[in-house]
Symmetry: C2
């Protein structure tokens, strides 16, 4: 008998990533389709269904061998697969799992994109071997996923793991995208560190390589820090300090085995994890020290892996 297969799908604001996986976690093929956001995003799941059906036809797959479909979406999702305003997709409130099942005939499970990325990293990425872990994604924003006993913690309103909005700076005057002030995301995201760099360059008279750059980026700041640039190091220290503090808060609540750091900023590598760990350890009880700090390994595929795992692990 053929090994059973499933689809892992990650719906983003500009493209939908699709993958077909074996039950054991081998990614057989992956591809992308554009996210059609017109008409309140009402064509997105139709396009997904058409792409799934085309793949089945093209590869001559037996429908009875397909376990089902897992989907990650950019917004809060309750455990039954209901999304509550995915603003990036134009979606209101409706049950994505039921609608996808209606369109494809396959069993479907749905999770928040940051949460399924965490599940993917646990399954086949930097979090392999752990069942209790926190994934922190440092990209345009700061996302998070909480995995307990091998499963995503959704929370009572689908908002568990929204760690980018933990307040870390009591004095901040600028507002976060969420409307409040002092959120972790304002300091520890790729956009946050660039904004902080501009501020610091204006405030300080210290010479810095950053002053000669036309286009500041998180990568440039980390690169300059590695070469000894003083202001860049200050910026990296601040980012890691706020992350370490927020992660200490998380640990006092759920006491995970490990933290997995992903997203573009995590390309800075062990310089990042070592510094975060230093600030983390300064801020936790003795019983919470010595956690593992790992780098994510699946990059942009974490979402399709985790979505696949959703339906395999059901």
């Amino acid at each position: 008998m053929m090994e059973r297969l499933c689809f892992g799908i990650d719906i983003g604001g500009t493209s939908v990533k699709l993958g077909i996986f074996t039950e054991k976690g081998n990614l057989l093929d992956k591809w992308e389709i554009p996210t059609r956001k017109e008409d309140g995003g009402s064509h997105i799941l139709e396009d997904v269904a058409a792409s799934v059906n085309k793949k089945i036809a093209d590869d001559n797959l037996a429908r009875e061998n397909i376990i089902g479909i897992g989907i990650g979406v950019p917004g809060p999702v309750t455990e039954d697969g209901t999304v509550i305003h995915c603003v990036n997709l134009g979606w209101g409130v409706f049950n994505v799992a039921k609608e996808t099942k209606r369109l494809t005939g396959f069993e479907t499970l749905v999770g928040n994109d940051a949460n399924v990325a965490a599940l993917g990293e646990m399954w086949q990425g930097g979090g392999r071997g752990y069942v209790n872990l926190i994934m922190v994604t440092l990209g345009t924003g700061v996302g998070g996923g909480v995995i307990l006993n091998g499963e995503i913690l959704t929370g009572s309103n689908g908002a568990a793991g929204e760690i980018g909005h933990i307040m870390v700076n009591y004095e901040e005057e600028d507002r976060c995208n969420c409307g409040r002030k002092g959120c972790l995301e304002q300091f520890a995201s790729a956009t946050g560190i660039v904004k902080e760099a501009k501020r610091l360059l204006e405030k300080s008279r210290e010479p810095s390589e950053l002053r000669n750059m036309e286009y500041l980026s998180a990568k440039a700041i980390f690169d300059c820090a590695k070469k000894g640039d003083v202001l860049s190091n200050q910026l990296v220290e601040q980012l890691c300090r706020y992350l370490g503090i927020a992660m200490s808060h998380i640990a006092h609540v759920v006491d995970p085995q490990a933290f997995v750091i992903g997203g573009g900023v995590s390309k800075a590598g062990t310089m990042l994890t070592d510094l975060i760990k230093k600030y983390y350890e300064n801020n936790v009880l003795f019983a919470l020290k010595n956690k593992d700090f790992k780098l994510a390994e699946l990059g942009n595929d974490a979402g399709i892996y985790g979505s696949a795992k959703l339906i395999i692990g059901k």
Copy 2:
């Protein structure tokens, strides 16, 4: 056939509380014995076993009707019932569940005292009706318990819910009992608010009723605040602000349905919960607003209720 029964036991530093419960949660009888801490606490479980056996003999109970024993202990416990240094009892590292079963013949489950108190409040106290809740106990220290899907979250080293040690004040110079600086417990416990009061009275020239008191207590401070005393209100505001902030951190991690506030300080009532809620709401994402803030109802019996529930829910 007789209704089945179980023992709920709460081991504290000075006394052991014992209760006998029906399966449905009726407390039939409760009593206390002293905690014998000599010889590394090695007599504590012997005394517990003797007291359980005496109760069974006195009441002429059928052993086959006893479901088992639940025990709460003041320190970290792993899921299999191993304690890791209960300093208050003189205990090192050993399996309390196995030892109690050996001494009594009854199935035994063990949890951390703050965690079982949370379970007790969910079962028969202020948290009835919720399955995802955070209990915060404001006593000599600040304890916490995290209940997810109706069960205690233990954490990978038994340190989940140690929320009294969430760092909330970056500038604090004095040390917490844990050795670090700026822990929630330093501001939001009964001892913390008294220490803060002494500091404030020294620093400020504002007249205050507190100045005339021989013996400052959390209760006195809350009473004076209710009567309009300015410095007392400042102290209460600070306590609630730090609690609200710490609870906002917790919510961004686990998104609970409700918070239940217990311990001596919670006798201040809705003045306390209303103010905490205000600061909480200032510091959370929109999706996390409108949580329920409840007062605990079981007082010192929360531990025996929760211990009983441990073994009933097994």
